[in-house]
């Protein structure tokens, strides 16, 4: 129960970070928080409802792997964006077309 509430809180905090941050990497960090919280929620709820722990853990493992891939792609986009125009802040991306 405490895990469920805690994960909901962590998810909401991650969402807040995504909404308010201006720095791309910090936004990604907020998204990582949301993902992690959702993942724990997945396992905790599955176990709380009497699911097979092996299945729950296996799926969470896949989520971890996929999320890592997502993070790698996201960060590479950020770094490339920075290299191609020294842009790492959200509002600067509106200028892409103008250039």
């Amino acid at each position: 129960m405490i895990v469920v509430i805690g994960c909901a809180a962590a998810f909401a905090i991650g969402l807040y970070a995504v909404l308010t941050r201006r720095e791309l990497i910090a936004i990604l960090a907020g998204a990582e928080v949301m993902l992690g919280a959702a993942n724990v929620q997945l396992v905790a709820l599955a176990l709380a409802r009497g699911g097979d722990p092996a299945v729950a853990s296996g799926f969470s493992l896949l989520v971890v792997v996929v999320a890592a891939a997502e993070a790698a792609v996201g960060l590479s986009i950020v770094v490339t964006a920075y290299r191609s125009g020294a842009r790492s802040r959200l509002e600067e991306f509106g200028e892409v077309d103008a250039e």
């Binding site: 469920v4 909401a12 905090i13 853990s57 971890v64 960060l75």
Partner: protein, 164 residues
């Protein structure tokens, strides 16, 4: 409350603190340390409730991999400035309201589901392996393909950036 309940509560508290630090700090290193604390406490929760293999995977992939990448990217983006740049955020009441609403909705939705007591056993590595290569083999293979695609995507993105 048993000892394991206390450890679990501590891990959840650390998780929320790490998340809050990630969302609110203005300092680059504190962001990384907060995110690290968050990811490690997620691993701790996994260790307590689900399986040690999952916890180790969390440490291996996230703390040893993703977090290093985040810090690496931060160093690349923020390095050639003399003073330390803060990570600013546009705090506004709307975003906070949305976050609180999401929190309330999630708790209202999920808490009733968690009411029943489920299994207390933890998964052994062998069971997880049996699942991944048994019933979950399709998902497992798709995840593998996705990883390969992500690898190629990173290469394409980075090479494209170099050409420009």
């Amino acid at each position: 409350m048993s000892a394991s309940d206390i450890t679990l509560a501590a891990a959840v508290a650390a998780m929320i603190a790490g998340a809050a630090g990630t969302a609110l700090t203005r300092d680059v290193t504190r962001l990384v340390v907060s995110l690290g604390a968050f990811l490690l406490s997620v691993a701790a929760i996994f260790l307590i409730v689900a399986s040690s293999l999952l916890a180790i995977a969390q440490v291996f992939v996230y703390v040893g991999g993703v977090l290093v990448l985040v810090l690496f990217a931060l160093m690349v983006v923020h390095r050639d400035t003399d003073e330390r740049v803060g990570l600013d955020s546009l705090h506004d009441i709307g975003a906070a309201a949305v976050a609180v609403a999401v929190f309330a909705g999630l708790v209202a939705l999920l808490l009733p589901l968690a009411g029943t007591t489920g299994s207390q056993t933890r998964a052994l590595p062998n069971d997880i392996g049996a699942f991944l290569l048994g019933d979950g083999v399709v998902a497992f293979e798709i995840a593998g393909v996705l990883l390969l695609v992500a690898l190629l995507a990173v290469l394409v993105v980075v090479k494209g950036g170099e050409d420009r």
